[in-house]
């Protein structure tokens, strides 16, 4: 199965010398995805785990891949979104065709997909790191697709540094594990586990930092709002929808190394409470700050990127609930927490992929992503607008769509845990409830702003006047993702039921216990679905009723009511900045928004200006000073580097001699 996948990727490698091969590149990804989905679905339905070994002449390395339910759960959305984004990319990149060769884009796109798949399947630490780097490098080259732009180069650079700093932590994580167990094999690690509390704690922190950098936990998220807007939109969709989820996957996989199997039933070796609390803390920080920063953005793709930070926060909340369940031995918390997190991974892949593709369509149609320059696009781009609306409602966690379902699981876990436990555990779950509610409220604000200002009202600039709907290669993937959002929403109990295999495999709980706890979530969700169905029925009834009422009556067209003012101009409309301003003012201490105002003066004011910039607070306050310090410190050793080749050769020679002496000592 997996060979087929890798084989299809190889087609891509061959095709890079061709000139017009968008279809070839996209086609091979689609074929590979379809082939790869089959075993993944089989494993999720309870099929046997599949393994594949190859000898590999790398020290400590072995080409060992395995498809277990946890991998399969992440593999499915990865393949699905890769295929859909590839189809979309064919149309999206068409306008670039004249200007440059698209070879490298498709080459690296294929490599990125290959890297992600390998990361999910690898069971050997060396292979995992190679795949991890492959994924990072391929996405780096995709981010810098428009490398002639200064901002894109800078974004690529930030991404490059961030991802490698994360990898450094992972390296330490893997090395510590290897030293402890004497193996590089994931399955050996999972079997042996770590039984020293202190070491397990250190490993947990390393994993959170290392994988959290990829996932985008606040304050490790700095690369997201830079890299996502810079990349071509179908790549942003892939990166934001699934690539950052490899961080979540890594974290879950890391939990299995830390001795998780014993935790579920036995009372010894349970993870300490601070793990769960730590993740809940990270989740709340990422969630609330992510959505606030998203609200403050003026660029649609930056907004979406910050929103990914928020959704990663929600996933972290689910993981935190699950870990608390492990610490307290509550199978209910374990199942609902991890289940909610896993389901949100898939849901976020669907709606964030959809929204990024929608953003790409807006860029394609109008040439700008500046929210305040857009407006009234619904009339010109009806398909994009309708699918974007579905994505916006879904990401706000509203029924009857899929975002509601996964948040329902996490909320349900927190409410049940919060009412049945006491003391600090109950308190942390109740804080989570309040935080998640705030996140939900702010997400509505954020997406009514994004959708309302971009697609509704009157055009705010020239950009919109020549806007046009995108072609079918770009429309179809968006439609497919929108249908996915609706289906998971309306088939919620089925979606929750499908978590059975992955949860039983990952948590090592008794399958009966898992299904029993999933049922406690599935039965209320059945009612939710009944409610949603009734809602849709009522809605159609109302549509018929309204049509009946208005039939034969006078229905007129006029201008928008402006208190009698008959000459409104588009410039009078509320903008995205003004829409978000009250919330921004309230949360200014957290956001550090800089405002430059040039108020109108005199009786006949000619010019006035207002500019707000919200820079990333952790980048400005934390990383910039830190890197400046490092830079100053390192410049002291700059005399080592002076461009004389002879001296460099000397360095090499001296190093070799020292190493030789050390070896033979």
């Amino acid at each position: 199965m997996a060979i087929l996948l890798a084989g299809a990727m190889a087609v891509l490698l061959v095709s890079r010398s061709d000139r017009n091969f968008s279809w070839l590149g996209a086609g091979s990804v689609v074929i590979a995805a379809v082939l790869g989905c089959i075993p993944a679905i089989r494993v999720l339905l309870g099929g046997a785990t599949e393994q594949l070994h190859f000898p590999w002449p790398v020290p400590f390395g072995e080409f060992f891949i395995e498809l277990d339910p946890l991998s399969a759960w992440f593999l499915l959305p990865t393949l699905l979104l890769s295929a859909l984004s590839a189809i979309y990319g064919v149309g999206y990149l068409r306008s670039w065709q004249e200007k440059r060769s698209l070879g490298p884009v498709w080459f690296f796109y294929g490599l990125l997909v290959l890297g992600m798949v390998l990361v999910l399947l690898a069971r050997n630490a060396v292979l995992f790191l190679v795949a991890w780097e492959l994924m990072a490098l391929a996405s780096f080259f995709l981010v810098t697709f428009e490398h002639e732009r200064e901002s894109v180069r800078e974004a690529g650079w930030i991404y490059f540094v961030a991802t490698h700093l994360g990898t450094a932590f992972l390296l330490a994580f893997f090395l510590l594990l290897a030293r402890e167990t004497g193996s590089m094999d994931f399955n050996v690690w999972a079997e042996k586990g770590i039984h020293t509390q202190g070491l397990a704690g250190i490993l947990f922190l390393l994993a959170v930092v290392g994988f959290g950098t990829k996932a985008g936990f606040m304050p490790l998220h700095v690369w997201l709002p830079e890299a996502h807007p810079a990349a071509p939109s179908h790549v942003s969709a892939l990166m934001s929808g699934v690539m950052i989820k490899t961080g979540i996957y890594g974290l879950l996989r890391a939990f299995t190394f830390l001795g998780m199997p014993a935790y579920a039933e036995a009372t010894v070796g349970r993870p300490p409470l601070w793990w769960g609390w730590g993740l809940i803390g990270i989740g709340l920080t990422s969630g609330v700050l992510g959505v606030l920063f998203a609200l403050a953005q003026h660029d649609l793709k930056r907004l979406l990127a910050y929103h990914s930070v928020e959704n990663i926060g929600i996933i972290a909340l689910g993981l935190g609930v699950g870990l608390l369940g492990m610490s307290t031995g509550s199978s209910m918390l374990i199942v609902l927490g991890f289940g909610g997190a896993l389901l949100h991974v898939v849901n976020h892949a669907l709606f964030k992929g959809l929204l990024f593709l929608g953003a790409g369509a807006v860029l394609h149609g109008t040439g700008t992503l500046e929210i305040d320059h857009l407006g009234g696009l619904l009339k010109r781009m009806p398909w994009t607008a309708a699918t974007f609306l579905i994505g916006a409602v879904a990401i706000s966690g509203l029924p009857p769509l899929n975002g509601f379902v996964s948040e329902f699981l996490i909320f349900l876990g927190a409410f049940k845990g919060g009412t049945s436990t006491t003391g600090a555990i109950a308190a942390s779950l109740l804080v989570l409830i309040a935080g998640l509610a705030l996140i939900g409220g702010l997400a509505v604000a954020c997406f009514t702003k994004a959708f309302g200002i971009i697609f509704l009202g009157e055009p705010r600039s020239e950009h919109v006047s020549h806007a046009h709907e995108v072609d079918w290669t770009m429309r179809l993937p968006m439609l497919a993702l929108a249908v996915g959002c609706v289906l998971i929403g309306l088939l919620a109990p089925v979606a929750v039921g499908s978590l059975q295999a992955v949860l039983a495999n990952f948590t090592h709980l008794q399958p009966a216990l898992v299904s029993e706890n999933l049922a406690t979530a599935a039965s209320p969700l059945t009612f939710v679905v009944i409610g949603s169905g009734a809602f849709l029925l009522l809605l159609s009834a109302l549509i018929v009723l309204r049509r009946g009422l208005l039939a034969g009556r006078r229905v007129e067209q006029s201008t928008t009511w402006g208190c009698g003012y008959a000459q409104p101009t588009p410039r009078m409309q509320y903008t995205a900045s003004s829409f978000a301003q009250p919330l921004m003012d309230l949360f200014r201490p957290l956001l550090g928004t800089k405002k430059t105002v040039e108020p109108p003066r005199g009786f006949f004011p000619a010019e006035a200006a207002l500019k707000t910039v919200t820079l990333d607070i952790s980048r400005e306050e934390m990383y910039r000073p830190m890197f400046r310090r490092v830079n100053e410190w390192l410049s002291q050793v700059r005399w080592l580097q002076h461009g004389k080749v002879q001296l460099y050769v000397l360095y090499i020679a001296v190093t070799l001699i020292v190493l030789l002496v050390w070896t033979f000592r």
Binding site: G440, L456, R546, V555
Partner: protein, 302 residues
């Protein structure tokens, strides 16, 4: 499920506009006016349903869809809320999540429909709506969490059953704080003074009314009716906590109804004796509601 489970829903459908009538009559009485008939909202609804409509050229299908989505969401939400001892038509664990989600959906579509007009007034109202609702959401959820802890139940139908006098003696402070917080949430969510002023349409201080400025005819009837339903549902929740229970279910139902109209009188009195708060102060009130609810929650944690 039996036929009696339909009672809360039917009463909500029939009686909810009457709450507005009671509020208006109370305000008129305190101002020394005679006031409009009690059933005025029913006349208004009937009149609006028979009218044609005028749409702005700026608007799209979304503007027309907004009121219908809102009404459908409010109607489904009405099937989730109990009254007196009668459970709601649909009751299941954590049904309040669906309740909050439906209200959120209603708000989402009201807001985007307002933005669809391209009017700066309506943009302003939309902006304030999402601002305030983002702050009431945590307060509402903390209230729900407190009640869930207090009662050990996870369904609106069991959480909001009438409490007995013994409950008030045992957990009086918690219930009192919850009622205060829920009351503020009610006023904010239903666009009443001191958060919003439902009296006029065009002052710049408006939130809810200004968002629906461009709607007319049957669309506006839908909006008016869903607003009435929403007020009814929140009032039913407040009444569920405040009123003492007796052994007779029908008596409890009468008590609950009486309590809700009493609540309408209270709202009318509030609106008569105080002015709307300045917009800058409203967030403090809403965060305050969250804080009050949090105190109640901490009391249950002991």
């Amino acid at each position: 499920m039996n036929a009696l489970a339909c009672i809360p829903l039917l009463l909500a459908l029939v009686l909810s506009p009457l709450l507005f009538g009671v509020i208006n009559r109370t305000k008129a009485f305190l101002a020394g006016r005679r006031g409009q008939p009690l059933l005025q909202i029913y006349f208004d609804l009937w009149k609006l349903l028979r009218k044609g409509a005028v749409y702005s050229r700026t608007t799209t299908w979304l503007f027309r869809a907004g009121p219908m989505v809102g009404l459908a969401a409010a109607l489904i939400a009405a099937t989730l809320v109990p009254l007196g001892n009668f459970p709601a038509l649909i009751a299941f664990p954590a049904d309040f999540l669906l309740f909050a989600g439906l209200l959120g959906l209603m708000r989402f579509f009201t807001v985007v429909a307002a933005l669809d007009t391209g009017s700066s007034f309506e943009g302003m109202g939309a902006s304030r709506e999402v601002f305030f609702s983002a702050l009431t959401e945590p307060a509402l959820f903390v209230v729900l969490a407190t009640l869930a802890r207090q009662t050990g139940q996870l369904s609106l139908s069991t959480m909001f059953e009438p409490v007995s006098g013994a409950d008030w003696l045992r957990a009086g402070p918690v219930l009192a704080l919850v009622v205060i917080a829920l009351m503020i949430v009610l006023l904010a969510e239903n666009a009443r003074i001191p958060v919003d002023d439902p009296n006029t349409h065009l002052e710049l201080t408006m939130i809810h009314e200004v968002m629906v400025l461009d709607h007319g005819g049957p669309d506006f009837a839908f909006i008016l009716y869903s607003a009435a339903l929403k007020l009814w549902l929140f009032a039913a929740l407040v009444a569920g906590i405040v009123l003492p229970a007796t052994d007779n279910a029908w008596l409890n139902l009468l008590l609950a109804l009486g309590g809700m109209f009493g609540l309408a009188v209270v709202i009318g009195v509030i609106e008569s004796v105080m002015a709307r708060l300045r917009l800058l102060v409203v967030p403090q009130l809403l965060v305050g509601a969250g804080a009050v609810a949090t105190v109640a929650l901490i009391l249950t944690l002991r």
